[in-house]
Amino acid sequence: MSIDPQERAAFTAEVKAWFDDNAPADPGFLLPQSFMEVGTDQQFEFLKTWQRKVYDAGYLGMAWPKEYGGHSKPQWMQDIVTAEMTKRKLPFMVNTIGLNWAGPLILNMGTEEQKKAYIKGILTADDIWCQGFSEPDHGSDLGNAQLKAEKDGNEYVLNGSKIWTSLGAHAKYMILLARTDQEAANKYAGLSFFLIPMKIDGIDPVPIKKMTGEYGFCQTFFDDARIAPSCLIGDEGGGWQVAMATLAFERGAAGGQAGGHSMNSQSVHEVVALARKVKRNGKPAIDDPLVRQQLAQFVIDQKGLHLNGARAKHKPLTEDRPAAVPLMGKLLGSEFQRRMNEFAILLLGQNANYYVGDEDAIDGGLWTRSYLNSFSATIGGGTTQVQKNILGERVLGLPKS
């Protein structure tokens, strides 16, 4: 598909102008870096208002169908908006799960009623979504999820608990993987996938304090919570397939996201700026040969990540292993962030001791906070180790572990 360069340039200029005029001012309190760290009502309300503003301007869900609340515009327009937001490090779109994986899933597999009921609220941020996948005893082994959904009359009754429920305290809906059949032939066949309301009796999200000192996750307890059969998406017993489709959206291996960026991560140029600012042995750290080499490596890594997408557009350059680039993005991107933030902490020297809240903390404690938070991506959505199994098994054809 070729895009008229003039149309593209005109739209880019329009987008830049809008963000020039409408980018929110510093709220005067610490903002989260991603949807996994929304710990206070103040943060939540600020981010919700911002998402609504972006949607009202026509810059969110641009490529989603108009009939459900989108704008039926070409994807490249949304990509320009998303890239501009990322570049400016603007506050992220808080309804991340709705915009990036529940929404695409509903558009892809949902019934007409489900699309009409849910899509618009995802875009406006009126209906925040959370995800009920992991359980306290079943993280990486997602297929072993044990939360029960038992038929009782014309309803399902939910019992058990889910964990790492980001936005759980603010969410109106949850995508839920639950066990509908205890006797199924294998662990996968007993699972079903639901779109459930959160604000009902018997569902209680309890915030978890994270190692950063922030909140953002919940453990969600289900105690005889009753839901209607219309909450089911896909077939009863077909939940595993739906969950896999959802994970493909979550890991960015499938398109269809509403757009708008979902995380403020660090770019290597910020670490380079830090290395110019801090000193080692009385000289700027950037003069140190080993620091220089390591920074050059991070530039290579960051650039390589970007170029993978550019290469994937040329079929002859990926035809040997078409699944490799889509399946490795989450692994490489999350590990890159972890390693680079870890290195940035080393650059701080003695000042690495100061954390968020101390007036002497360099860059407000950003680097340590980012490092600790980077584990949310190396663990969440399938750990780095699970991703390596996936690459080894699905791309290289190695036997299952």
Binding site: R292, L295, V299, L305, A310, V325, M328
Partner: protein, 378 residues
């Protein structure tokens, strides 16, 4: 330069290049199976002249040469998919030194130099570069070898090492010092004295050392002094890019060797590929190759836009660093994962590890590339 570098995500790949890649892939798979590679190692010539003639017939030797000299003018970046496939097959041919010498003569030669030599190269005549010296440095401008003027001739002295295919080259581009500056001079194969074949780590290569003492050539064999600095820079970047292509191709078939073994060897009642201690590094090799190829084809894109820009140099050095790192890792793990068999000459792992030593030590290893990158970027 840093922000500009991060923003440039351009990869161009034409249908023509895709056809070239496909043809090269099939050709190399057909002509260079591993038993053939091993058989050629045992032969003095080190390569199959009939296969080399086919390479020329496919147009590979003329790809970077202008049409006026019998080339196809596709550009140097077009060689990247070809050399990548040759690396994949550990294929021994004089292609890389030949096309490099040809491109240098085209860049810095006079018409009187291009006219006799370039059409020969396009037709499959072998050419090469004599750059290395005993001090083992990567700086192309530091030559102990020299020439002095003597009327209409120049007299060469000193010695050159690590010269590929010097025994069969029609023409050799030799780096020397002239009046305190680096110069490039063309020496014809018949003008060389005794050659000593060198014992090198990558046994698929045929590499020679020789003395320049006593050689005199016409003074008009000197390449244009005004273009020498450019020519040296071109040699370094073009070589790095083709080394990266060769290394990534090699790493890819090395990974295939690993996967094949992990899918057949059983220990403790299980295929060893089921063990994550082996599976995870295999996945890391995979991601290294994939990301390396993205960097490589970006470098090839910029190279054909304008090889002389800092952006191209940055892209090429990134590709070389990434390619060396993954090729070394792949070869190293291939040996280890084959256990006792990996220690033997019979196991193919050594072929890849040896080749990755050659590529790494050629025109600057990963650490060297990162030092240069830091100077360009920060």
């Amino acid at each position: 330069m840093l922000m500009e570098t991060l923003a440039n995500r351009n990869i161009a790949f034409s249908d023509e290049q895709a056809m070239m890649l496909d043809a090269a892939k099939r050709f190399v798979a057909d002509k260079s199976p591993t038993d053939k590679v091993r058989a050629l190692i045992e032969e003095e010539a080190g390569f199959d002249s009939a296969v080399w003639a086919e390479c020329a017939a496919l147009g590979w030797t003329g790809m970077a040469l202008e049409e006026a000299y019998g080339g196809s003018g596709l550009g140097f970046g077009a060689l990247v998919p070809v050399v990548e496939q040759m690396g994949r097959g550990l294929m021994a041919t004089p292609l890389v030194p030949t096309v490099l010498a040809g491109a240098v003569i085209q860049l810095a030669g006079t018409d009187a130099q291009k006219t006799p030599y370039l059409p020969k190269i396009a037709e499959g005549g072998v050419a090469t570069l004599a750059l290395g010296e005993r001090d083992g440095g990567w700086g192309l401008a530091d030559c102990a070898a020299s020439v002095t003027r003597d009327g209409d001739t120049v007299k060469l002295s000193g010695a050159k090492v690590l010269v590929e295919h010097a025994n069969i080259a029609d023409v050799i581009v030799v780096s020397v010092t002239l009046d305190g500056k680096t110069a490039l001079v063309l020496v014809e194969g018949g003008e060389l004295g005794d050659l000593t074949r060198e014992t090198v780590i990558d046994e698929t290569r045929r590499v020679f050392r020789f003395s320049l003492d006593g050689i005199s050539v016409p003074a008009d064999r000197l390449l244009d002094p005004a273009k020498t600095a450019d020519a040296l820079r071109f040699i370094e970047l073009a070589s790095c890019m083709l080394c990266a292509a060769d290394a990534l191709g090699g790493a890819d078939s090395c990974l295939a060797v690993i996967v094949e073994y992990l899918n057949t060897r059983k220990q403790f009642g299980k295929l060893i590929g089921a063990y994550q201690a082996l599976k995870h590094p295999a996945a890391e090799i995979l991601t290294g190759i994939e990301q390396g190829r993205s960097l490589l084809y970006h470098a090839a894109t910029l190279f054909d836009e304008d090889w002389a820009t800092p952006a191209t140099e940055i892209a090429v050095r990134m590709a070389k660093a990434a390619a060396d790192d993954v090729a070394i890792f792949a070869g190293d793990r291939a040996i280890q994962f084959h256990g006792g068999f990996g220690f033997t000459y019979e196991c193919d792992a050594q072929l890849y590890r040896r080749r990755s030593i050659w590529n790494g030590a050629h025109f600057g290893d990963a650490a060297h590339q990162k030092e240069k990158l830091a100077d360009l970027l920060f």
